[in-house]
């Protein structure tokens, strides 16, 4: 019963916004879930493999553009488009990894920045493919009715369910990674790459597979963005700011943890959107401030710190119980 409690609470919390039905609340929740997905995507590479990328917007953008182009030019239904977008982002990540993984530490981070900017310039200038600065706009989404219920694309609830499924999937993937052999290999790569090679770990392959998974998730996020906001252009989906936000969410939440991205997204998105509502510009000031505070005072992130406190409280309680208190 006690073990089921967190799950029950979680599901109830997830269903609450649907029950309440307020569009603004649903919008913020959708954003939180989308950023959870993106934060989890970044966390897979940055938190687990220890490779700090400042260019994840490129993968997000590939997913967004792929979904749009497949739908508007080839008539591929957007939900398939999202999955294909993720796959394309994963494919795109392979040559990127080939180039960037030759470098370590801050040099790797700077290289990803340059690569992402190159992607943005391509999107801006390759007009025949991407419409350049004009971008793409979805005016109508297809009428479908799975299981006999027509989907209402105007309702936020539809997108909320989609976003929730995507975010849950990302967190599940992260949890799987943590327990797998690849996850263990990634820890080794993070701790000492040479020692990892010496015990037979193919570090390049481990990093590439992880990057592909990370890219797939980011691409899914991009596809979702395209569907939800219905408009994309290079500035919206390929700019550095997006990359930085993904990093911040993962770090503030807790690097290398499963729940971190959710906590980080909840915290930063809610604060950020509240500020955006009040101030119009400069709402990211919250992100900057919290990033600094977390690194200074809570490097394990909000989730990491909460987890540590939880464990400490548990330990004290069982000590009490053992002492008959």
């Amino acid at each position: 019963m006690r073990r089921a409690l967190p799950w029950v609470v979680g599901v109830a919390a997830a269903l609450a916004p649907l029950a309440l039905g307020d569009p603004f609340l649903l919008h913020v929740c959708i954003l939180v879930l989308m950023w959870t997905l993106l934060g989890a995507a970044w966390n897979v590479l940055g938190g687990f493999a220890g490779q700090v990328s400042f260019g994840h917007a490129a993968l997000f953008g590939v997913g967004a553009y792929a979904t749009m182009i497949l739908y508007l030019k080839l008539g591929v239904a957007p939900w398939w488009g999202i999955l294909l977008g993720g796959a394309l982002a994963a494919a795109a990540s392979l040559p990127v990894g080939l180039v960037c993984f030759r470098l370590r530490g801050p040099y790797f981070s700077l290289a990803t920045l340059a690569v992402a900017e190159l992607f943005r310039l391509l999107a801006l200038n390759w007009e025949s493919l991407t419409n350049g600065p004009v971008g793409f706009l979805i005016t109508a989404l297809p009428q479908i009715a799975p299981f006999g219920h027509p989907v209402d694309w105007e309702s936020k609830a539809t997108f909320y369910v989609m976003a929730a499924l995507l975010a849950a999937g990302a967190l599940a993937a992260t949890a799987w990674l943590k327990r797998s052999r690849l996850g263990a290999y990634l820890v080794a790569v993070r701790e000492d790459e040479d020692a990892a090679e010496a015990v037979g770990i193919d570090t390049v392959r481990a990093k590439s597979v992880t990057l592909a998974l990370s890219a797939f998730l980011a691409g899914l996020g991009g596809g979702f963005y395209a569907l939800y906001f219905r408009y994309i252009d290079p500035d919206a989906v390929l700019q550095i700011g997006l990359s930085i936000e993904m990093v911040f969410i993962a770090v503030v939440g807790g690097l290398g943890t499963v729940g971190g991205p959710l906590v980080g997204a909840l915290f930063l998105t809610v604060l950020g959107e509240t500020m955006r509502h009040r101030l119009q510009v400069g709402h990211l000031v919250v992100y900057g401030a919290f990033m600094m505070l977390v690194i200074r005072f809570m490097p394990e992130g909000l989730w990491g710190r909460a987890h540590r406190l939880f464990v400490a409280v548990q330990a004290r309680r069982s000590k009490h119980a053992a002492l008959g208190g």
């Binding site: 052999r181 000492d192 015990v199």
Partner: protein
Amino acid sequence: MPLLEVERLTRHFGGLRAVGDLSFTVREGEILALIGPNGAGKTTVFNLVTGFVRPSAGDVRLDGASVIGLRPHAVARRGIARTFQIVKPFPGLTVRENATLAAFLRHHARRDAEAAAVAVLERVGLGARADRLASSLTLVDQKRLELAKALATEPRLVLLDEPMGGLNPSEVDVAAELVKSIRQRGVTVVLVEHVMKAVMRVSDRVVVLHHGEKIADGAPSEVVKDPAVIAAYFGKRAA
């Protein structure tokens, strides 16, 4: 056929020739010591054999198949393991986790890998400390862990880079016995070492390097009397 054949191995770093035209073989089941004054190129040989550095010329063959050009993980997979002169544990992980990572090479399931790892830890004498953090170990235990990681990959040949460095005389004795026990389990050993007492006790054959070249190759008792070797260590007058 010898287990390991090193043929005319050469490596330049800019203008410096670290290893020059080096050839020697290692028979299966023997313990070979690689000795020589500091800067003779011994660690470079290890780096060349295990794929951390590419040779400028020459070949290295395991069981007749060349390992040149393979990345270090592939060399480990073929069956050559190594330790590092300055130990490289995974500092934030426990002893057990360190060894398990190495065991994953041959056992895909976590449970099997852990079981194999624990067995290796027992053999090197770290069984009782399996749950300690690698960074909290004493030097002797860190060296044991370094060895355990290499052995957990179930190699045919293990290269030990100065395993006795920094150990006191009684620890050296224990280490020497450990090296012998490795051979007893069927793993061939090549070790680089400065501690002569250990070299004499443990090795079947000795290869002496000086300025990257081989100057002697034979049984320990003969090599020690070789004038070229004495000259290399102590200068021409002493020889």
